[in-house]
């Protein structure tokens, strides 16, 4: 009987050819990945370039003003290369962007890349903290709601999520400022720090919590943290609302699977069934959700940044847009697009890492 049993042709998948095709597949997978990234990036640049050409803002007039004589206008147009064929302009544009030249901002008269280097860390700091808060609280809440489905806890979590979804963030931000800053004085107000720290803080990374901590400026650190609490809690709450809802629905899906019955039949603890089995499976789609919501926050949440006078990317792009500062707007758009492409890539990689079924193909 044992002899018969050992010859099962279809039963064990042959190991050797698979091992070879695995590395091949990995190589072609990375190649395909790169091609996709490059194409997406070119698409992004094409879009920003053509938007720059079709909008009714003439970059020449924006520089010389509408009273300049014709020959000045013409000379500036030539200097900017705007008389060349479009395709050549696009090639120059791509080369400039790739070398980090996003043009000069009319509004601040700085190079756009320098402006963005200044404002983006502010957004990065806020968005990262917000996402951390959202994930750290949102995932357990979602799990709890799914496990105690239809109970009071579930209802409460759902209401928290619903409020986070439907209450306008600017209103909630103003209320938070009113209560916690103006009335109670528990937190600091708008801006990134109080004006007296203006010259104590030397931005190295631009992430002020890091900068002050590294410099050992603990007074400044406390001040920066005090300013961060409200806006990051607010963003955190909104991402919590989203993350907890998604966690709940992914968990409900996993908890209904047969492998959960099998896990329980083995007699392992319920907490292990939930966290080790169900959440580990729910984590696969959840990672994509969290990374994309992080990308959304990195665009700079205009409303939050406006309410809290937060000198971030959202506020910068909005200001530039209102002043028809097209280089700044398009530069900001490129940065936002790059962040999206990068984070999409990251979520793909994490997905592959978390789900063994997507590897080794």
């Amino acid at each position: 009987m044992a002899v018969v049993e050992t010859h099962r042709p279809g039963d064990i998948k042959p190991g050797r050819p698979r091992a070879r095709s695995r590395s091949l597949a990995a190589a072609s997978g990375i190649g395909r990945f790169l091609v996709i990234v490059v194409l997406t990036y070119l698409g992004l640049l094409a879009v920003t370039f053509f938007i720059g050409r079709v909008i009714p803002v003439d970059p020449v007039l924006a520089i010389v003003g509408d009273r300049a004589p014709t020959h000045v206008v013409e000379r500036t147009r030539e200097e900017l290369g705007l008389n060349k064929p479009l395709i050549e302009q696009f090639a120059i544009y791509v080369r400039n962007v790739l070398t980090g030249d996003l043009g000069t901002s009319v509004l601040t008269s700085n190079r756009v890349i320098d402006d963005i280097r200044r404002v983006f860390p502010a957004t990065l700091e806020l968005a990262t903290l917000g996402t951390l808060i959202g994930a750290v609280f949102g995932i357990p809440l979602g799990v709890l709601a799914a496990v105690k489905r239809d109970s009071l806890v579930d209802q409460i979590v759902r209401v928290i999520g619903l409020v986070g979804y439907s209450v306008p963030i600017f209103w909630l931000g103003l209320m938070a400022l009113l209560v916690f800053y103006a009335r109670l004085g528990w937190t600091d107000g708008p801006g990134r720090f109080d004006i007296i720290y203006e010259y104590t803080i030397t931005p190295v990374t631009g992430i002020l919590l890091l900068d002050t901590a590294m410099a050992g400026e603990w007074d400044a650190f406390r001040n920066v943290a005090g300013h961060l609490i409200l806006p990051s809690a607010l963003l955190g709450y909104f991402s919590l609302a989203y993350i907890s809802r998604m966690t709940r629905s992914f968990m409900l899906n996993e908890l209904g699977q047969e492998y959960i019955v099998a896990a329980r039949a083995k007699g392992i603890s319920e907490s292990r069934v939930i966290w080790r089995h169900a959440l580990r499976n729910a984590a696969v789609p959840l990672v994509t959700v969290i990374v994309l919501s992080y990308a959304g926050l990195l665009e700079g949440s205009v409303l939050t940044e406006s309410v809290f006078a937060w000198p971030g990317l959202g506020l910068y792009i909005t200001n530039s847009l209102q002043n028809a500062d097209m280089n700044a707007v398009l530069g900001g758009t490129i940065v936002v697009g790059s962040v999206f492409i990068g984070l999409n890539l990251l979520s793909d990689l994490l997905y592959r890492f978390l789900d063994p079924r997507t590897k080794r193909r």
Binding site: E258, K266, G267, V284, D355
Partner: protein, 288 residues
């Protein structure tokens, strides 16, 4: 099937006593009873439960395991395992029975194995839940167990994920996972229905040998009357949540209940040309 004749002292006390077991699910039109007063006792023998889908055979198995969904209601005059009243146990005590003393094999390894854990992790997990063994010991025991379910290259299969093995291999891993803690009773819920016909027999042979060697009691749940009667000592026929007939497996042809007769008559015979094909008669009064 020697174990049913064995003069074992343990036989004096039945392994499992079920009396008037009822499982009902709440619904908008009042509770729906999936199991309606099932009673039987089980020694260290093989009991088959057959019935159509929805007859309550799987819910009977899950109620014994304590895996009925929380919104369902279970009542029983007696539900005892080796003399212990299962209905009186706390959830924690109930859990300590699962896997270690009563285990269950599910239908389709494609869904009943966790896709993101390796087969080895899933097997050792059962052991480590019930005994304080080191990782290395658990690994050795799991490799032995994989060998016991006739897997040729245990060390390789140990590190694979469920999607990397075939259905037959997956079901063997499932058996290994459920038997590693040496349970006294095994509930096999359609253990071969999702497998290819050729693999079915291999998996059944493995199950057959392990149940005999370890002297386990077995409840074999299936819709396949012929399979059950060849594999078990006794067969319970369920219809709409009730047991309508109990027959010795080798005396299946002496079954008297019209429903059982109907199930038997449904089986085609080679060389026979029947027109019209028999249709199973289902009468509500049998379920009363």
């Amino acid at each position: 099937m020697g174990e049913s004749h064995a003069t074992d002292a343990r036989l004096s006390k039945p392994l499992l006593e079920v009396e008037d077991l009822r499982v009902s699910f709440p619904s908008r039109n009042g509770p729906v009873e999936a199991v309606r007063g099932v009673s039987f006792t089980l020694g260290r023998e093989r009991l088959g439960i057959v019935g159509e889908s929805g007859s309550g055979k799987s819910q009977t198995g899950r109620a014994i395991m304590g895996l009925t969904p929380p919104h369902a209601r279970i009542t029983a005059r007696r539900l005892a395992f080796a003399g212990t009243d299962l209905m009186q146990l706390s959830a924690r005590e109930r859990r300590s029975f699962r896997g270690e003393r009563i285990a269950m094999i599910l239908q389709d390894p494609k869904y009943s194995l966790n896709p993101v854990m390796t087969i080895g992790q899933q097997i050792t997990e059962t052991l480590r839940a019930h005994s304080n063994v080191t990782r290395a010991v658990a690994r050795d025991r799991a490799l032995d167990m994989l060998e016991a379910v006739q897997i040729r290259d245990p060390a390789r299969i140990f590190g694979l994920y469920p999607h990397e093995v075939s259905g037959g291999m997956g079901q063997r891993a499932m058996i290994a996972m459920m038997l590693i803690a040496d349970p006294e009773l095994l509930i096999a819920d359609e253990p071969t229905s999702a497998l290819d016909v050729t693999v079915q027999l291999q998996v059944l042979a493995i199950l057959d040998r392990l149940v005999s060697e370890r002297g386990m009691g077995l409840i074999f749940i299936s819709h396949d009357l012929r399979l059950v009667s060849s594999f078990c000592d006794r067969v319970l026929v369920m219809y709409r949540g009730r047991i309508v007939e109990e027959v010795a497996a080798n005396r299946l042809n002496d079954a008297t209940h019209p429903y059982t007769r109907g199930l038997i008559n449904c089986l085609p015979k080679i060389g026979e040309d029947r027109h019209p094909l028999p249709v199973l008669d289902r009468r509500p009064e049998w379920a009363e």
